[in-house]
Symmetry: C2
Subunit: 227 residues, 2 copies
DNA sequence: TCAACGCATTTTGAATGCAAAAATCCGGTA
DNA sequence: TACCGGATTTTTGCATTCAAAATGCGTTGA
């Protein structure tokens, strides 16, 4: 049941039901989930360790903000993780797994042509997860899952433009090709490029400062602090 | 106080006070730390999310085992993270930070010459952490911390041989040189090599099957399972 | 003799209770 | 009317309590 609670609350955070910067209403969530405070508080501690919420001593939990720095950090790490996944996947992926990803790619393409964004996103995500899974590394999988979930929260503030959509599909063609050729270096490279473009789009769209919910959490000057 | 408890228990796990595979004695720990079960259980949930303990439903917590697969996975990911840190650090490190690492390197060298393993390990760790810190990426830092902590648990089963020690010091010379030249690619490469050697040593030493505490947790056949 | 069953004890997981810290509200004052 | 200070209410953090599951042990019957 503990895992269930963590998953439910994580879903609310990733899907924007609890927007970045918002307070996490302990009482309400307990009522909504039909549980007492103990398991919810345990779940919040776990989500804090994952970086999805911030625990303020004696002042409760807030959904972590998406600042310019944190998004940049997340993309940098995600690049590294996906590149590693690409390298390893090309060494270890089975023909069947390649076929599964090729099938996902085909339906993603169909959704692109039909202009269906939501199912397109779903296939997109499954392809990236498939590559990570094919790397056959449980540590990598769990770290990727954590980072990707946090990045996914930014999609509400980045509109998908037709140009970017076309480019992304082209990049996915290259991804599939590299995978078919088992070209680890090439796959790592195109995955990095793909993510850099996505990141540029998110940064261009700007974030933070636009949500009313970003209030009451002072902007940190992390880049200035040294330790 | 919550963070305090997590840190204390994590220390017990990383330092081998609670060996891999051993049961985490909830009652005892509560008594030892002078707290009730609630905060301890919260801490265990967090450590489970970090991968240091495994929670068995209705059967308590055990310190995670160090299997061949999990150690391999950890090293693979650590390589990726350190390589990324090296790349970023060379772009962002300040002269003062380089000087700090150079100083650490010098004292590490002195400890090597004196044959003092423990302080050598300490300097070694601080150098690697310094590089990661210089990458100036909080997400990277926290993931690295988590992976490095889990890897550190393996050091009790890998004796330091004179040959490996000499090689490690040589590699650290190359690491410092790459850093002084701000050669990101070169630093990433030597860091990967350094870790690969360390990993080979750990794998050669063999692990698991040697600790009585590894008992009663069936060996998983993860490499065979697909999803 | 040994295996299977049943009961008691221990351990786990979640709910509740209680003390302390924040946040809020309200009245008073300048 | 704006601002400050204190009391009240709410929220938070931890301890305690309670129910359910697992474990251990003794008994019984083949």
């Amino acid at each position: 049941m503990h895992e269930e609670v963590v998953a439910r609350v994580r879903h609310k955070l990733v899907e924007g039901e609890i927007p970045p910067g918002a307070r996490v209403p302990e009482r309400e969530l307990c009522a909504a989930l039909g549980i007492s405070r103990t398991p919810l508080r345990e779940a919040l501690k776990v989500l804090a360790a994952e970086g999805l919420v911030v625990l303020l001593p004696n002042r409760g939990a807030r959904a972590a903000r998406l600042t310019r720095e944190s998004v940049q950090d997340l993309f940098e790490v995600c690049e590294g993780l996906e590149a590693l996944a690409g390298e390893l996947a090309c060494q270890r992926i089975s023909d069947q797994q390649v076929a599964e990803i090729a099938a996902l790619h085909a339906s993603m393409l169909a959704h692109y042509r039909a202009g269906d964004l939501i199912p397109y996103y779903r296939c997109n995500r499954l392809i990236h997860e498939g590559i990570v899974r094919a790397a056959d590394n449980t540590v990598l999988s769990s770290l990727y899952e954590s980072v990707a979930a946090r990045i996914r929260r930014a999609r509400f503030i980045t509109p998908m433009t037709p140009e970017r959509w076309t480019l992304a599909v082209q990049e996915h063609e290259a991804i599939l090709n590299a995978l078919l050729r088992r070209d680890g270096g090439g796959l790592a490279h195109i995955l990095r490029t793909h993510l850099r473009h996505k990141r540029a789009e998110v940064e261009r769209a700007g974030f933070a400062e636009t949500e009313e919910s970003q209030a009451s959490q002072p902007a940190g000057a992390r880049r200035l602090s040294s330790a």
